[in-house]
């Protein structure tokens, strides 16, 4: 019997806790650098020990993203990627036996254009577990959250070091699955060092919620993973994955991705 959507995320964090491990959650833009890349490298990411996979739905105007992810979105759109393609990519990974949580990450307009209810139903059907929308704060998220809930999916909220206690509390009230903690004030992209604000920020979030925390933005090395792992249950790695994918010849991409996840995990 297939695992129920929604519980896959909880099961993953339970497993991580038991193993005493920091989850590594790679982000890949669907359709970058080629239309079929996610389908080819997804199983390799899991073989390397990815705890979850974030599937990026490309958008023409990704205003929370730095140059690397922005470029990947542009290439993906040039390759003809749509919301439907992204749903198909999730379905494809499930057919290939990928059993880790699949989280869509995409800006609001393409989802709105697709239809929120239709999108939520399609996510569940495709085997996705949650959705992150960088430009949808809690106050504006009601319609999407309700649609996803109806289909057993989580709407994952983001918080940032600049978030006020009131904003953290508001997210804590509405959040399910996990909370995505943006490590810095800035756009996505690999950085040399993690922000010194991170420990204080994470402890403020912990005061409001018992949900697992995933730290993202700026994570690109095993040292970052180890450091963030002292504070949070998992890390998200986007730009560093995208950059490697773009630099690696097609046939070597699965091996490279498997090795990179192992490397980040320190395994």
């Amino acid at each position: 019997m297939e695992t129920k959507t929604g519980s896959r995320i909880a099961a993953t964090f339970a497993r991580l806790r038991e193993a005493g491990e920091t989850g590594v959650c790679p982000y890949v833009t669907v359709g970058y650098p080629e239309l079929d890349t996610v389908g080819r490298v997804g199983p390799a990411l899991v073989a390397g020990g990815a705890a979850m996979i974030e599937l990026g739905i490309p958008f023409s105007d990704p205003l929370a993203d730095g140059a690397t992810v922005q470029h990947s979105s542009h290439v993906a759109l040039t390759n003809g990627v749509t919301v439907a393609t992204c749903l198909e990519a999730a379905r494809d990974l499930r057919h290939k036996g990928v059993d880790v949580p699949l989280i869509f990450m995409g800006y609001f307009n393409p989802l709105l254009s697709y239809g929120l209810e239709r999108f939520a139903a399609a996510c569940a059907e495709a085997g996705a577990d949650g959705v992150i929308v960088p430009d949808l704060p809690p106050d504006e998220s009601g319609d999407l959250r309700e649609a996803l809930q109806r289909h057993g999916l989580d709407l994952i909220f983001m918080l940032a070091p600049t978030s006020t206690d009131a904003q953290i509390a508001a997210v804590a009230r509405q959040a399910s699955g996990f909370v995505y903690c943006v490590s810095l004030t800035g756009v996505t992209g690999a950085r040399d060092r993690l922000s010194q604000q991170l420990p204080g920020f994470i402890s403020r979030v912990r005061q409001h919620t018992d949900l697992p925390l995933v730290v993202g933005f700026g994570i690109s090395t095993p040292e970052h993973v180890a450091e963030a792992g002292k504070l949070a249950e998992a890390v998200a790695v986007g730009s560093a994955v995208i950059k490697r994918l773009g630099e690696t010849p097609r046939e070597r991409q699965p091996d490279e991705m498997e090795a990179f996840i192992r490397y980040l995990r320190g395994a």
Partner: protein, 407 residues
């Protein structure tokens, strides 16, 4: 409370607390920005009610910007058209040559009041960039202006002006390399430098409270127009006409007339090479409801919700979004929006140069073209006010090329 005549809330009651104009507006912003947006809301709310802030703004509008700008009866143009009496609200006479200074001054004073030493802005035609650079120079603030590479090439005079005024102009080479992409980059900068930086948005677009705040600062245009036309003609106009890109000059002149049901409101959108060509910026005429740059409004987008690149001969109208209040005015039927092509705008441009000795901005030429068309079907008892949002000096290169003249 609703208005007796329209059955809708009076104009001043919108947006609501969440920044909504009906279904439009709101705050669709990256999480990093939310505290800054809240800080801005609170600061603006306080400034709005602070008599000292308002007095300082009024003093500088009068002594620095040169307000009130004239309301000019365009007798020669009216005679040529042979229809309604046409008046021009002369925002081209404001300091820096366009209405943009009204808003830049208001927000510049607010940035100063909030203790933000660094101001960023985005610009299309450059008029907003020039106005922001001007105000920053006057108030002693650091200024960075994002501008698409396409716009930098066609607005080189304004780029030079901004640099002379001490601003750093950062070229944007992504996407369509026009206003939309400049706005993306400005938001990215703001996300990164949010603690020290004030983002001075140039139109009634973006997340709440920008559509409200920019409208408030630009409403001085409509308030003056109302008073001036009552003085000069003894009554309100039959119609008010303005060009709409993001829509700030239009909102500025429309707003004080919204609760006057006898005054028609008409917006001229850039239809570029024609709506059917796909190369246009007529968001309200040809867009769908979506979310761009922090608010829900009409947006030019494809079937998959990807933003379509806009086109207009006028850099300042070359934007695939529009202020949410315009979307509300369109859907409630209070305002009507008309597509005006590049070619029609050029005719409007030449018409005004020839009949009145006024060289309008290419943006404003869209309003002139629409105003002339509307006036032609009316009786001489009717009055039409056209908002002449800016002057055309900045457009000489574009115009020379369009008219086949080597400079």
């Amino acid at each position: 409370m609703t208005s007796m005549t329209t059955g809708r809330p009076p104009a001043a009651a919108l947006p609501d607390e969440r920044g909504r104009f009906g279904q439009f507006g709101g705050t669709y912003a990256p999480v990093t920005l939310l505290p800054a947006i809240e800080e801005l809301r609170e600061a603006y709310d306080a400034a709005r009610r602070d008599p000292e802030f308002q007095a300082e703004l009024e003093r500088l509008l009068a002594t620095y910007v040169g307000r009130p700008t004239a309301l000019y009866y365009a007798e020669s143009l009216s005679r040529e058209i042979g229809g309604a009496q046409i008046y021009l609200k002369r925002e081209d006479l404001a300091h820096t040559g366009a209405h943009k200074i009204n808003n830049a001054l208001g927000q510049g004073l607010l940035a100063k009041r909030m203790g933000k030493p660094r101001v960023i802005a985005e610009t299309g035609a450059g008029q907003h960039g020039v106005a922001t650079a001007t105000v920053c120079a006057m108030l002693g603030l650091e200024c960075v202006v994002y501008m698409g590479e396409v716009d930098i090439a066609r607005q080189s005079l304004n780029v030079f002006r901004m640099k002379l005024l001490g601003a750093e102009v950062r070229p944007v080479g992504t996407g369509s390399r026009t206003l939309k992409d400049a706005m993306n980059e400005a938001i990215r900068d703001w996300v990164t430098n949010v603690e020290t930086t004030y983002y001075l948005i140039g139109s009634v677009a973006g997340m709440h409270p920008y559509p409200l705040m920019v409208r408030d600062f630009q409403s001085v245009i409509g308030r003056e127009t109302r008073r001036q036309i009552l003085e000069q003609a003894g009554r309100l106009p039959n119609a008010v006409v303005a060009c709409v890109g993001g829509g700030s000059n239009a909102m500025g002149i429309f707003h004080p007339f919204v609760d006057d049901p006898g005054v028609e409101l008409h917006g001229a959108e850039a239809a570029g090479l024609g709506i059917e060509s796909g190369k246009h910026a007529a968001t309200l005429s040809a867009g769908r409801v979506g979310v761009l740059h922090g608010s829900r409004s009409y947006v030019l987008q494809d079937d998959d919700g990807q933003i379509i690149e806009a086109h207009s001969i006028a850099a300042g109208l070359d934007y695939p979004g529009v202020g949410p209040e315009h979307s509300y005015l369109k859907d409630t039927g209070r305002a009507t929006y008309h597509p005006i092509t590049d070619a029609e705008a050029l005719e409007g441009f030449k018409l005004l140069c020839r009949t009145e000795g006024i060289i309008p901005a290419l943006e404003s030429a869209h309003a002139v073209a629409l105003g002339a068309r509307l006036a032609a079907d009316r009786s001489p008892d009717d009055i039409i006010v056209i908002n002449l949002s800016g002057r055309g000096d900045k457009d000489m290169h574009t115009l020379a090329e369009a008219l086949g003249v080597a400079l």
